[in-house]
Symmetry: C2
Subunit: 332 residues, 2 copies
């Protein structure tokens, strides 16, 4: 046996010992003991222990996670909407006529209260103007620059730091147990893919999001390029979530995590499969450490009807206040 192989074997032995030690420590240290933590751990054991009657073969282990409000902060405004608003000045510079037209005029005025009242068609005008019309490469460059510099006004940190530590632990715990973790978000697929690997350990091909079409063509030098088009191929919210999962993954998930009425159908679709399934909803009830909102919020609406459905269908509601010891990695 060659020396290099002996070295490899020693490395493997080390990993086995080390791996064994890890398996005995708590995989979810930021979670308080309670029904939510118990549901997660029991689901993972039930579906991955060979002797379990509800064992799921590794290739079928799919877990899906909504992003906004489930993996990271969504209040007072989705981070991607902040990006779009921040891009408006550059768009107006390229098309000066827009400066006198609403909703662009209001964005330029900086009046956040007026912006909060934008109608859906007005918001869509802003999204179309700031997310389409450029090449994929141009969009990627702009959005990455923003992600590196923009800060959330409350925490004075990058938006990508505002992910929930307990959910990061869940992502890792699922992956260590052979699950493929997917993000299934109403947010823009091209946007979330720029940071999903770095921030969540989820590679771009495992991000399902709202997606516009692209158009293949050539630049002046004949080099191929893709241009982002305004038409929406997939509105990945509500019924669009199971539709998007079928389109992009083609398998029904075994576990689904969400936080609002836009995740209801994804959880229903998950639950409709055979065997053990896990459906969970993050409830924002912690106004000190994060936010408390529910039925009255425009962003991340969690209606009483949804709470009723969760109870009726045995979906587990995660209380940020009671179930999470720590919210962010940067918290003391």
């Amino acid at each position: 046996m060659k020396r290099v192989m002996i070295r490899q074997m020693m490395l493997v032995a080390f990993l086995l010992v080390f791996g064994h030690a890890v398996a005995q420590t708590d995989p979810l240290p930021s979670w308080n003991d309670g029904a939510a933590k118990k549901a997660i751990v029991e689901f993972v054991k039930t579906t991955t222990e060979k002797s379990s009657p509800k064992f799921v073969p590794p290739e079928a282990r799919i877990a899906v996670f909504d992003q906004d409000g489930t993996l990271w902060v969504e209040h007072p405004m989705y981070s991607q909407v902040v990006y779009c608003l921040d891009r408006v000045p550059a768009v107006v510079k390229a098309k000066p006529d827009l400066a006198q037209v609403d909703p662009f005029k209001t964005v330029l005025s900086g009046n956040r209260e007026a912006m909060a009242k934008f109608t859906m068609p007005q918001l869509e005008m802003i999204l179309a103007a700031t997310l389409t019309g450029m090449t994929v490469d141009e969009f990627t460059a702009e959005a990455k620059k923003w992600l590196e510099s923009a800060k959330d006004p409350r925490w004075k940190r990058s938006y990508t730091e505002l992910t929930y530590l307990p959910m990061q632990e869940v992502l890792k715990y699922f992956r260590v147990n052979g699950y493929k973790t997917y993000i299934v978000t109403g947010g823009g697929q091209d946007f979330v893919r720029l940071y999903s690997d770095k921030v969540y350990g989820v590679p771009p091909e495992q991000v399902v999001g709202s997606a516009g079409g692209t158009k293949f063509g050539y630049d002046k030098s004949g080099k191929p390029r893709l241009t982002k088009e305004p038409q929406l191929l997939l509105n990945d919210d509500s019924a669009g979530k199971p539709e998007g999962i079928h389109l992009m993954i083609g398998r029904r998930p075994y576990a689904a995590f969400g936080n609002s009425i836009g995740d209801k159908q994804m959880l229903e679709y998950t639950q409709a499969g055979d065997g053990a399934r896990l459906m969970m909803l993050v409830h924002h009830d912690d106004d000190k450490r994060e936010y408390a909102y529910g039925s009255k919020s425009k962003v991340g609406t969690f209606t009483d009807a949804l709470m009723g459905e969760a109870k009726k269908k045995n979906w587990t509601v995660i209380s940020m206040k009671d179930d999470w010891k720590q919210i962010f990695a940067f918290d003391k």
Copy 2:
């Protein structure tokens, strides 16, 4: 150290020795030595050896493969079109009025010559009638039944047996070297996903194909279901291939295999990336062991212009006749 761990270490040692032996055998035994085989082996080495200046990190290793005519037989008719034609009697039984209407009338007559003359809109009517309108579960059950029983008239074998052994070797060779292999096909995504794992070792989530929309809803008992809708979300052919790759994978491939003008844009898009890229086209020039066709064929058209582009751009053309020792696994 526990006994079970010692056993695991011995297993690992065995795998190391065994793995080493495998690495020294020819990964492409069905290929004759020549430019095509050499291009594949050199590309894989260049992109996976740590010391190589063109090393590609494992997470970025994406290789895409057209299916019809690249991985399996497409003549005289795409297998999925045979499926659709075979489904027409059942569709007409459910909607008897169609029996007197073309193109359904012609299909029922069994006149293959007349069917070969169907226009694109006529073919689309057949595809829409046989591939949409039912639930995903109903479609899955019907198509699986057909895949298990239908036989190709020339070889008298299941369509799923008519895959090219040399390309199966390429798929495995890429995967062993850390590449994620994707099928990128003009065929129906839902259809190909039913057998991709079993036939090619490609899981359903790594199949990008022409895809219609689905509609989420509930059956009479309130159980969630997805129904296949007639509208086409992605026509995964020609320019649709790079567009589909961006939508479904979100990364540019390092290697792309095709066989017809419908694969041109996918190869151009692949080549437009930095570093080492591999672009290959299977040429059907073997009328004895399979088929010889090219510029005049309606199915799998390989024009002289495409051959010219391949030469100009250093794409490697695979001659089935000269490069492949054996076509099918069942060949002697």
